[in-house]
Symmetry: C2
């Protein structure tokens, strides 16, 4: 396939020329997160919601959750929970009282306030793929370990595409940087290459505090200003089944104490780390997430929390995780109903099991993205660039996904289904009658340039036109676009003094040895 790409690239033709046409590269929609006013798809009846809620509460009351974090155990003991070793049992009144403190909506303000996002309400947000250890592109044609260079390339896409609203974790893990200082180098890259909302991994106090400090510096903020409103977030996974580990909880406590946001996303793979039944997997996921959110709300009442879902199923043949399946879609919708029941913003994902950016990748990703729409998801993680169940980041897939994300953004614009007299257009229909056509009439001319979604990657020419331009398949077109975007990328502006302060911080912390690597 890589050879094919190279051959086609050389033959490039019109698509290649178009893709290389200058700094703008493509015409894209503005940064304007979709407003999702569609009624969600709700498979659960009221009884079903009550049954899953009761299941989650029974897990918390009767079975309990292991907190491998001494501070959390102390706090929860003080709060009146039953502690048995590291197992915490919470009664439902406590959980519901704590969860009720969480806001249903809040903002995250990055260093560029124009990229402020609202989490919750009707707003739908997309973020880049996060944390794959490996990278694949059409030119390399193999799966290779992530590097700082490739990570930076994907960060440029994160900044470039207006349909990407927040920066997730590292879009690929740069394994060529030592783990003790990786967060310093990547955050420097992230903060200088992008000006969107930042994420910190909860992997030890030094990393979390360093990242918060760097976000504060990049924003030109005093500590008081940093704390005044959420600027960034972390996302943690529980160690399913029923366990929260030390650094994840520690990181969240550090963030909420400085006014920042946390997402809690159990990874409950039905049949492996959770029951084989989707309702059971969802109930367990909720119990795990709510136990952490209850802790955070006890510590910092009203702190911004997001409940995440990552409930999918395994492949019955191999035990491997599968994504974008029918069961994944329904679990996401079910969790959406439960998130509304608890009044919490919801995070889900754009995911697939496919290894290359082909048809399977796109039907699985489409399934997961439509499930995000249907579930009323607020934050869509991994919305662009994910392959192989999250083990590979691919720039071609990133760009293909952005085409789909833009289409969702357009899909949400109510002017499509406006029904005023000018849209019903009886006069235009009368003027054309039974013999004419609508191309040339004024009603069309007035609206033509903005009436329809204009793709940047889809090729809508007929076969002959497409063939004459090189017969370029979608991933190869995406590859050309990727190269053009990198060629013309301009980093967002940053005050040189702030850049220097950031660099000094990185240098100082490196000199101090960075962070421990015993995780």
């Amino acid at each position: 396939m890589a050879e094919t790409a190279t051959r086609r690239k050389r033959g490039g033709g019109r698509a290649g020329a178009a893709a290389r046409r200058g700094p703008a590269v493509i015409e894209q929609m503005p940064f304007s997160p979709p407003v999702n006013r569609d009624r969600p798809v709700e498979p659960l009846t009221e009884e079903g919601i009550a049954a899953i809620h009761d299941g989650a509460m029974r897990i918390l009351e009767e079975i309990g959750i292991a907190f491998l974090n001494e501070e959390a155990l102390e706090i929860l003991r003080e709060a009146g929970c039953a502690i048995d070793g590291n197992i915490v049992r919470m009664d439902r009144d406590f959980v519901m009282e704590m969860v009720a403190r969480a806001p249903s909506q809040f903002t995250l303000t990055p260093r560029n306030p124009a990229h402020t996002i609202t989490v919750g309400g009707d707003t739908m947000l997309f973020g880049n793929v996060s944390s794959p250890p490996n990278y694949w592109d059409m030119e390399i044609g193999r799966k290779v370990p992530g590097t700082r260079e490739k990570c930076a390339d994907l960060l440029k896409l994160t900044q470039y595409f207006n349909c990407i609203h927040f920066a997730g974790g590292y879009p690929v893990e740069p394994v060529d940087i030592h783990a003790s200082v990786r967060h310093l180098d990547v955050l420097y890259d992230k903060l200088t290459l992008t000006d969107k909302v930042m994420h910190a991994y909860s992997l030890g106090k030094e990393r979390v505090e360093d990242v918060m400090e760097m976000v504060r510096i990049a924003g030109g903020l005093s500590e008081e200003e940093f704390r005044a409103t959420p600027r960034m977030y972390t996302n943690i996974n529980s160690t399913s089944p029923l366990k929260h580990d030390q650094p994840m909880i520690d990181g969240c406590l550090r963030l909420i104490r400085r006014g920042q946001a946390v997402a809690v996303t159990p990874f409950t793979l039905a049949g492996a780390m959770a029951p084989v039944t989707m309702a059971g997997a969802v109930a367990q996921s909720l119990a795990e997430a709510l136990s952490a959110i209850a802790l955070f709300q006890y510590v910092q009442p009203g702190c911004p929390c997001i409940i995440g879902t990552f409930t999918s199923n395994v492949d019955m043949k191999s035990g491997a995780p599968a994504f974008g399946t029918p069961e994944y879609m329904r679990a996401t919708q079910m969790t959406g109903q439960m998130a509304r029941y608890y009044g919490l913003p919801l995070r889900s994902s754009g995911v697939c099991a496919a290894n290359v950016p082909d048809g399977q990748a796109m039907w699985e990703t489409s399934n997961s993205l439509w499930a995000a729409v249907q579930s009323g998801t607020h934050m869509v993680y991994h919305a662009a660039g994910w392959l192989e169940g999250g083990l590979i980041a691919s720039p071609e897939k990133f760009i293909m996904d952005c085409e789909v994300l833009q289409q969702i953004q357009r899909y949400m614009q109510p002017e499509i289904w406006a029904t005023g007299p000018e849209e019903i257009a009886v006069d235009a229909i009368r003027s054309v009658g039974t013999e004419g056509h609508f191309f040339g009439i004024e009603h069309t001319q007035q609206r033509y340039s903005t009436a329809f979604y204009q793709p940047f990657l889809s090729d809508w020419r007929n076969f002959e036109g497409w063939e004459a331009a090189g017969g370029i398949w979608t991933p190869e077109r995406a590859h050309l676009l990727y190269k053009s975007i990198l060629d013309s990328f301009e980093a967002p502006p940053m005050d040189p003094a702030i850049r220097e302060e950031l660099a000094d911080f990185v240098a100082r912390r490196k000199a101090e040895g960075g962070a421990p690597t015993d995780f």
Copy 2:
């Protein structure tokens, strides 16, 4: 890409071996049309519905529809409509009275009664791609005119896949058969290679009557039995804007008079044959469809009618039709609301503009299929095999689409979101606790083999496993499967006497010269 396919095919490996493993070829879900109980997505408010209805009615009352069919003009004159040349104006009371006669649900019974389908209610039906003049596959690697052989190959897929519930028009136009006798040869192939519900093109009285006669013979039915319940259907397009042509209306009249079903599907491309505004395009589409349905209900009260939508938009750059766009999705949902308002079963489509079965093909097709789900569509035309805006039929695309259709079938099974105590599984969660896993426990073992959707085309192995098996991309896997299915295809049983009667009918009608070709 063709070279790549051939190379990979030779290297075939595990996927190839699996695909060639015998007559069953794949394990697929049973013939069992999905029951869609999801609440539809409804962009229109009640006022929006009223506005579009009023627009459609004003078109019928004030502008009128051209009927290029003398018989229809006579009938509508008798019915009290205003006739001006070939323009018919109908008042809304007449239209609504006639449309109210149409059943909201009916059955179609093919020669194998086990493949009887219900059109309407909660049932969702999928049919093969219909009418592309051209064919493309990975082996040929070029766009070539359709032939009887390729048409038969695609009919075998239509029969083979249980997720295809009805046979549409010719899955590719066999241009190697003279147009005067094409319907005879292809219907012979269709009726012997498949036992699912049949379609007749409304292209002249001889074709329509011949096809009805062949369906009657294939079913072993007397004329009385044939008429007793719908056995088949036709689908007509209006000649937008605002025109019904002679053979389309004639064909429908012939079918309804013998008790068969009709679908009326205007092809209203916003900005070309309809207003650039989607509400206008939908209103015009409804006016065109309802005018024909009113005629049919006047002639044959209660005859089974389906309202179709094929409202999409053009590419702003080239004027070429685009499919599976955000505007297409919303127009389909809007038409779904209107179909429910009129109490008519709805037809929409599985469509894309892509020229090859790649990522674009699948995101566009996924968009259109999810729009079908969201709109409450009953019959999904072109659900498998469509490329290039309907100008190309592809077996690889057919098989890729069937994978997505099976996933929709699975998605609709309520056991996924069952919430009984056994599904909430608190005891299973308790038994695993915080340290175990769910693979081996009884709760999992009891349900493992049926708990999750099992794909036949998706490759869920990790990258290394996929690579070791040849690194086969989705369309190439689909190609291998296509060949295996053809190799092992067995036609459904047919009484030899009936087969002989069919062959005799074809021979006799050919000897008589078939049908005129002046259309």
